[in-house]
Amino acid sequence: MLSKIVRTVANQLILFILIFGLYVIAHGHLTPGGGFQGGAVIVSGVVMLLVAFSSKELKKSLRERTLSIMESSGALIFIGLAFAGIGIVFFYNFLVGTPIFGRIPVTGPNPGDIWTGGVIPLMNLAVGLKVVAGLSAVVLAMALFSSGEEIEE
């Protein structure tokens, strides 16, 4: 556990990191980014909290059961969206043309419209959820391992 100044600043900064990470995840089909990149940004915020508070403190907030359920639901949403188009073909982009994310973008250089892309922005969100849960669990487990405890069953 580091000093009071570091803990206070970390508490304030985590909000900005979270917002920036969600921005990178949500605009994955328009600007560089997407599921894994945004998830990795959010996990770097979690690592900052892990360094500022010790791993024993953080273990009380990030419980293993919550992370496991978040990770499995992220993966199941992804595969569920892929199966939803199985009437035609697996992974078929069935949301093109519908009002949810279904506008057709203009060709050539354009300022970028977020409601395009079909199934892709939803899959970005599912992958981002899974990456946050998975990498946080990895980082937390390694920190606990090194300080002598184990994650309980």
Binding site: S68, I69, S72, L76, I79, V89, F90, N93, E153
Partner: protein
Amino acid sequence: MDKLLIHSPILIIAIPLVVAFLTPLIGWKSGKARNALVVASLVFIEFLVIILARDIYLNGIHVYTLGATSPDLTLPGGAMVPIRIILEVDAMSIFMGIIWATVSLTAAIYSLSHMAKETGQTRFYTLAMLMVAGCFGMIFTGDLFNLFVFLEITSISGAALIAFRTRFADSVEGGFKYIVISAVAGLIFLFGVGLLYGQYNSLNIGFLANAMQYSALDKIALTLFVISLTIKTGMVPLHMWYPDSYSVAPANITAMLVITSHACMYAVFRVCFSLYGITLGAATLGWIVVIIGLLTMFVGVTMAVFQTDVMRFMSYHAISQMGYMWLGVGVGLAVLGNPEALATYGRDAIGGGIFHILNHAMYKPLLFLTAGALFHRTATRDLNKMGGLGHNMKFTLILYIIGTLSIAGIPPLNGFASKFLIYESVYQFNPILAVVAMLVSIITLASFTKAFQSAFTGPQLPEYKDVKEVPKPMLIGMGILAAGIIFTSIFPGLVLEHIVYPATDALINQAAYVNGIMGGMP
């Protein structure tokens, strides 16, 4: 039923993934429901593989394009190159698929009681279903980068499963060696894929086979592919990691890992026969494969003779039997450009090698599972400490005898059929090869007899007096494989004609593979 058949290639890969991620959610509630879900999904996968196999033997290659407007639309809108990820299943792929579905079902039933006392069983079943999905993806894909991704998925989950019992120091060391070797092999493979992509601007195997010009960079790419994939099958100059990793894993995981190293061998065949094909100048590569096959056979069996750890002993024999497969297919590769030699003995040599893959995939997991049964009851793998267990464990004894007679090539059983086919065809290529192969077979029988004597026969030791037979699920699992061995021993001609020779012809016939994708374009 018809729609199930059309979508079955992707269902076979996607259903294990769904079950792998459902398992943590269900496992928090009840362990029995999770076990039932895993076994039921593997039975359903086996059913899908069997109906897909029947349709492929009747109607030819199945192609599945992910994300197009119809499953076999590989060239949309009159384009000249195939776009999107395409799964292509021909007779050789479904041959490996049948083997993998059966062995993973057997290993899952076996693990119901073998892993019953471990902690963290939910994670075990998640990783095992991920490995099932990864290996099916490696077998069914028609795209080089997809092969890399599924190869890495299989390797990561396999390494985590080898190191599963973290309370033993040697398990973790075996898992570490496995993941280092797999990471390096995967990265070298990716380098080769990059070389081919930079020249031809496509990743699809069928399109690359059509456009291949066999320049110097293509030869470098072929070398990188063959080296990286054969490291993972345990070929001899680079085999030191294989016994270390396969001897410390839980026994049902080792049974599944043997089939994943067969799948890496399948990937070498796919690259050599379907991607490079007749333009290969195949005599040199064929001779190199033959020499390495001989070396593998010989080194494997001589290192196995003096081992005292029973699973390590069987891993060295697995290395040695892979040498037979390399020998058979290497002879076929060396005469690929020579049509009359191919018709007289080349096709039989490749057929013998592929039949040996089928037989090895039945008796080797059976032998590993019996070694696991010995470990389950006596908590040791050291042959010097065991003795006289045949008095208590009668069913395990019979299954071990079936496995031994099969691996040594004794006449009624199926090992003899495939080894005889290899001897006969390889002798016409060069007589010395057949002589070395027979010598290796004799040494195999000798070493298995020694292991049998030290584990099962002899007076009953006092510390093993109340050792009982292993629980029912383990016996059922081993019984499925033994039933397969006995069926193949009684009807070898039937298996050869309906399963093995279609696979051989699918490998030799590169034009049919390309036509599945390019759809009859010149």
